[in-house]
């Protein structure tokens, strides 16, 4: 790994709901190097978005970041004032959200939404901002950008809207781009185009990317390294190729088993039976034990620690690497 861009250390983020305390992120650590692509994978509700929002310091009531450090270029974001964070958001760290339609203001044109980001971070004159907005739209592959810049989000197709959102995110050349399931609402061909675009931008801008997805096949083509999350905890981490060749955690193996063949649609073929546990009432021992086919006596009693069996690899399982039982 080159220079460390982002280092999350023992992050704890909880939501204090009426039903109880949701342990959304439960003491996780991970690192992302400059210009590196990290994939964060896990089923819905495993704490991926909350991890990203914690980095952005956008956790809202009833949520609280309760512990840990988030070092961005060596500085702890958790110690920044709200004002300092505002200068970082959108400028040094940008985030692209899941649903492009609901993520854009329906009553402002695409141009207005990009220009106001430029205004807040770079100043620039009115004319320069609009010119830059047009360039950005062209850069993300939107045809007729001079005309499109004056359009409203609902006048764009889903794929074009996601491109516009990406244009907004890269408008101030961030060093870290967080993508939270950027293609879930799109069909497979458009999805491929979006990732091709992001890959190109990553090279051009030299950004580190933090890609959240529940789809391991996406990670294979786009990421250098993968972190697998389950029920608020990191359960495995590995360089992409190693993860595919030799997954150590039974949950990862389950996820790999559910990758659809290339020609197929997005439907799960062989998903893991059972459900993600309730993050308010976690099971004793290993969080995955109720669904794990290899679970044994010890798994129900004691929680497996996250250990490093080899350089660059981490796994939290008492029976890591043992063949399926």
């Amino acid at each position: 790994m080159s220079e460390v861009l982002l280092s999350i250390e023992n992050l704890v983020t909880r939501f204090y709901t009426e039903l109880g305390v949701v342990r959304a992120v439960d003491g996780n650590s991970l690192q992302l190097g400059e210009q590196e692509s990290l994939g964060v994978v896990g089923e819905s509700g495993s704490g991926k978005t909350v991890t990203a929002l914690s980095v952005m310091r956008l956790i809202e009531n009833p949520g609280r970041i309760e512990g840990g450090r988030i070092l961005f270029r060596g500085e702890d974001l958790l110690r920044k004032t709200e004002r300092q964070m505002r200068a970082i958001r959108g400028k040094d760290i940008a985030m692209v959200f899941q649903d492009s339609l609901s993520s854009l203001n329906p009553t402002l044109t695409i141009g207005e939404q990009i220009c106001r980001v430029l205004k807040f971070h770079l100043g620039l004159s009115h004319r320069e901002r609009w010119q830059r907005a047009v360039e950005l739209l062209a850069q993300v592959g939107i045809p007729e950008p001079e005309r499109r810049v004056k359009h409203y989000p609902h006048q764009f197709s889903g794929g074009m809207r996601q491109r516009a959102l990406i244009a907004m995110a890269i408008s101030c050349s961030p060093q870290l781009l967080i993508l939270d399931e950027p293609t879930t609402a799109l069909d497979v061909t458009i999805e491929a185009q979006i990732f091709e675009l992001v890959e190109g931008l990553k090279q051009a801008f030299g950004m580190g990317t933090f890609l959240i997805t529940h789809d391991l096949s996406v990670v294979a083509t786009f990421c250098d390294r993968v972190v697998i999350m389950y029920a608020g905890k990191i359960v495995e981490e590995a360089p992409v190729t190693e993860l595919y060749d030799r997954p150590l955690h039974p949950y990862t193996r389950g996820l790999l088993g559910s990758i659809p063949p290339l020609e197929g649609g997005k439907d799960r073929l062989d998903s893991i039976p059972g459900e993600v546990p309730d993050l308010i009432n976690l099971p004793p021992g290993c969080n995955f034990s109720p669904r794990c086919q290899q679970a044994g006596e010890r798994c129900w009693r004691e929680e497996p620690p996250l250990e490093a069996p080899a350089p660059g690899r981490r796994v939290a399982c008492w029976k890591a690497g043992e063949p399926d039982g």
């Binding site: 958001r89 959108g90 400028k91 959200f97 649903d99 203001n105 009553t107 106001r116 609902h154 006048q155």
Partner: protein, 320 residues
């Protein structure tokens, strides 16, 4: 745009037809008639017959209806038969409409100037003291009937405090804007309080709804300053549903002005129709009520056009 307006106007024709039939039947099927009122103690059967014939009240109902509509189409609203005997109804309305419109407009302006900011602040300070107070006041506002509030205000300002502007009545603008507005303040409060309360609640809940939208989070994630987010993301989008409510409840203001004008003894259209009802002045009631229906249709059209200005999704079609 022009075509849209034209379409809406054509669509209004069936509405007007149904409204005219309803108004006509209600007026004519209700017990009691203008003749009794006109003759007072002197109820002579021969005279009654002659008057009925003179006024066309002896014709079959459908003929009377067709005659009325025919006259309307020629721009003739008819003549008053009891309230101001012989006076053209159009003229009666024209003399009074300014009072009603001024009252409705004034109370709406005051109401909006209070309700919109109150709704915004209440939502931004959700569950804090100012929010609780605003919501409590709004609850009281919708619960008090406007005639009761009107009487209460007259009691306090007119009877106890003996303010010249506190006892009702209307001063035309020609005798000074200050006096004119001073006399309007209490009726406007009586009429506008419930309206303001509804708008304030609506604005508050629309704000809270928008504050939870993804695009607000996007704006925060882009480092946009909070004030800018409140203005361009939250308030702007929250206003869209509120404008519809504002428009739809203009009908409430017009309806409410009938009662308010009576309580405050103001010579408006509402007062005219109340007198018309008491004295069975068929042409007056019919024409005024139909006039209010037309006014509502026009206002609704204007509101819909405003909606298009605020919401680009209505102004422009879907994805290309």
């Amino acid at each position: 745009m022009g075509i849209y307006i034209l379409k809406r106007l054509i669509l209004a024709i069936p509405t007007l037809l149904v409204a005219s039939v309803l108004i006509f039947s209600l007026v004519h099927l209700a017990p009691g008639g203008p003749i009794r009122v006109m003759l007072g103690d002197y109820q002579d059967p021969v005279l009654i017959e002659r008057l009925r014939h003179q006024l066309g009240l002896d014709l079959p109902l459908y003929q009377q209806y067709l005659r009325w509509v025919g006259n309307l189409l020629r721009g003739d609203l008819g003549f008053s038969i009891t309230v101001h005997r012989g006076a053209p109804v159009a003229q009666l309305i024209a003399q009074r409409i300014s009072v009603t419109l001024e009252l409705a407009t004034f109370s709406m302006v005051i109401a909006l100037l209070i309700a919109i900011p109150a709704g915004i602040i209440s939502a931004l300070r959700q569950n804090r003291l100012s929010d609780h107070i605003a919501r409590l006041v709004a609850l009281a506002g919708v619960s008090i009937p406007n005639f009761f509030l009107g009487i209460l205000l007259i009691l306090i300002f007119g009877v106890y405090l003996r303010q010249p502007w506190g006892a009702g009545g209307f001063v035309p603008i020609s005798r000074g804007l200050g006096k004119n507005l001073a006399h309007l303040v209490l009726p406007a409060i009586a009429l506008g309080t419930a309206y303001a309360a509804i708008i304030m609640r609506m604005m508050r809940s629309a704000m809270l709804d928008v504050m939870g939208q993804d695009y607000v989070r996007t704006a925060r994630a882009m480092g946009i300053a909070e004030g800018n987010i409140v203005r361009r993301d939250i308030v702007k989008n929250a206003l869209i549903p509120v404008v519809t409510v504002i428009g739809n409840s203009i009908g409430y203001l017009l309806g409410g002005s009938i009662v308010t004008e009576t309580v405050f003894r103001m010579p408006g259209v509402g007062n005219l129709v109340i007198n018309g009802i008491f004295r069975r002045d068929f042409p007056v009631i019919q024409a005024v009520v139909l006039f209010i229906v037309v006014l509502r249709i026009v206002i609704n059209l204007v509101v819909d056009l405003t909606y298009g200005v605020l919401d680009p999704r209505i102004r422009y079609g879907a994805a290309e």
